[in-house]
Amino acid sequence: MVEPLLDIKGLKIEATSYPPGEAPRNVTIVDGVSLTLEQGCVLGLIGESGAGKSTIGLSAMCYGRGGVRITGGVIKLAGRDIREASALGLRGLRGHEVTYVAQSAAAAFNPAKKLMEQVIETSLTHGLMTKAEAEARAVVLFGKLGLPNPETIGNRYPHQVSGGQLQRVMTAMALCPKPDLVIFDEPTTALDVTTQIEVLAAIKEAIRDTGVAALYITHDLAVVAQVSDHIMVLRGGKMVEYGTVQQIIEEPREEYTRALVSVRSIDHAEKADGSAAVLSVKGITARYRGTRFDVLSDVTVDLPAGQTLAVVGESGSGKSTLARVITGLLPPSGGEVVFAGRTLSGALAQRSKDDLRELQMIYQMADVAMNPRQSVGTIIGRPLEFYFGLRGEARRKRVQELLDQIEMGKGFLDRYPAELSGGQKQRVCIARALAAKPKLIICDEVTSALDPLVADGILKLLLNLQAQEGVAYLFITHDLATVRAIADRIAVMYRGRVVRYGTKTEVLSPPFDDYTDLLLSSVPEMKLGWLENVIATRKMESAGN
């Protein structure tokens, strides 16, 4: 019988945590995980943050990040137990037999060295090939990964190359020494969707062409379904389910897996286009002080009362700037914002208290959106006091009502933000916005920093609140699945302009403009063969042109 390439049994990984003011204690990060990986196969490790997936991935190189220690189990690579290997043995293995692609290539490259030097470094130090051979191989890999100017890109420094390109260079660096196994640790998570699909396709093709085995770590099931043969679902350091891609996606056995598969499938029927606009943005043009180009040019959108307008775009599209203009943080250089029938002043300082009260905002990072020195009661209570003059018992009662509304119940009044989970923090921020009895809440990427299941919970809560309170949302996001789940109207932004605007059905139905088409087709879908289909379609289209 042929040995599997990687055979991990009963893996246990621990770390020491240092809670303030208490004795250090051991925390188990991975508990009793076993997996096997055959030559040339791809295993996807999936889970939310804290599931221990990166830690398991790095254990294949017998590496613990920070204070993390592998304390139990057997890790066999091609039949050898690498936990028994000497430091010298491990060095021979790392960067030669097993290589690693990090989430943030921008941080993982040495800023002081040229890319080529770093890409071929392992091939040279492990004595695998001559410099000329290694460089030739690197250039081939650059080409295969679809990098522009494969011959010369190696002469650049990391900061001279874009994020998506850097991620591909890092993949080339991992493949250059002809490894048996590559660990991909969330390689596309930090990228925009339209970039992600290119990198994903490049990685998939490179894996197929080189016949290398891979561990593909991600939190996004739709992504991992495109590149893996098998999938392992992890939660809290333990295995939940293991199976082929088809089985996991089409017939998940465990409830947790089912939840992950059905995530983003909230279907929200779009509301009738009847009510008057609560917000009208008319021909807004804006630029930041001291810059020469417009971040927003001639943006015009309407948002009917009690509905949701989703503003979609990738980084740099100007969608967050639009929020800053509407809230008054960035006075526009042209155009006007009409809110609840009043034309709003461009500058925050000139707006009335009612203008401020009726227009609330929720942020992406709930962590930094709440003062860490204030209790939940103070955070939610302050707008009540500030806008409505509520004090004492009346205030406390109203805060509790709001907490009930965000489904958090009793016992949170005196807690501090640091004691809450990510989802709870975001809920408190929602309650703070709600406390002002607003007509419009601007939600700036409010679910992007959350795990998918938690994000789903927040979206459902927002929809419920809209039904109860009739509040309108301006929902800024880069994630089209979120848009489908919540929007009544959609504005697609690209480079500071609205390229497509209308009701959800209008915007999401063909015929599309080029950018919307690219954007929509780039969003990973939770079905097998999606990536191949998209790439094939795109190739046909470009051939047809």
């Binding site: 240092y18 204030q374 703070r432």
Partner: protein
Amino acid sequence: MMRIPLAAMIGLFFTALYFLGAIFAGWIAPYGMAEIVGDSWEPWSATHLLGTDSIGRDLLSRMIFGGQTTIFVAAAATVLSFTLGSSLGFLAAVRGGWVDQLLSRGVDLVMSIPSLISALVVLSVMPVTLPILILVMGLLDATRVFRLSRAVAVDITVMDYVEAARLRGERQLWIIFREILPNALSPLIAEMGLRFIFMVLFISTLSFLGLGIQPPLADWGGIVKENKEGIVYGIPAALIPAFAIATLAISVNLVADWVLTRTTSLKGGRGG
């Protein structure tokens, strides 16, 4: 209740001891400050625990009174530099624009000359009295407090919760005192300890150079100056203030370190 680590306990104990000694100097000191009670440089004995100084004054009493002067001047200068430095620093951070530019460039300029040199230059024309010393030291050091508090406050003002408060329509004073100050307090308190030590060293150095506290007032730097000739004869009287300054500095340092680690662990950073 949070446990206080041993190092911080020791630091707190000695810091408290020195401060109490300074406050109650008049009651504790066995002899008067300028009282000549024996021969010069008498060795340690039951009547003179630390011996006598170059002209026969009781060294323990001089040390206690000297500590009072040193700690009083250092503390007053620290309070001055903190009040001035941190309020201007916060103002620069919250206001931004030309206020920030003006203050920051001014501070850059003052800091471009080493503070000891600046102090010497100013003291060459000003009468050397206690208020002048406190003023000069406090003003020169306010530049460092300004930089720190501005940096801390700028970090906080870019936080979303400060933006949220602005969007709510809160006034400048609320933002400074309710949103920024509580989060800036711990690093500033830790820095206050370090500035106090620096002030102790600064005033001692000035006095040692003969440009600080003037006789007959005693202070630790001055005691070194008065007794330095003894060193070459093997008389360690001048080293006693060294011991006092070093232990005070280390104790305050330990306390400051503890305050700072407490802060970082509150922010969710690694404690311990």
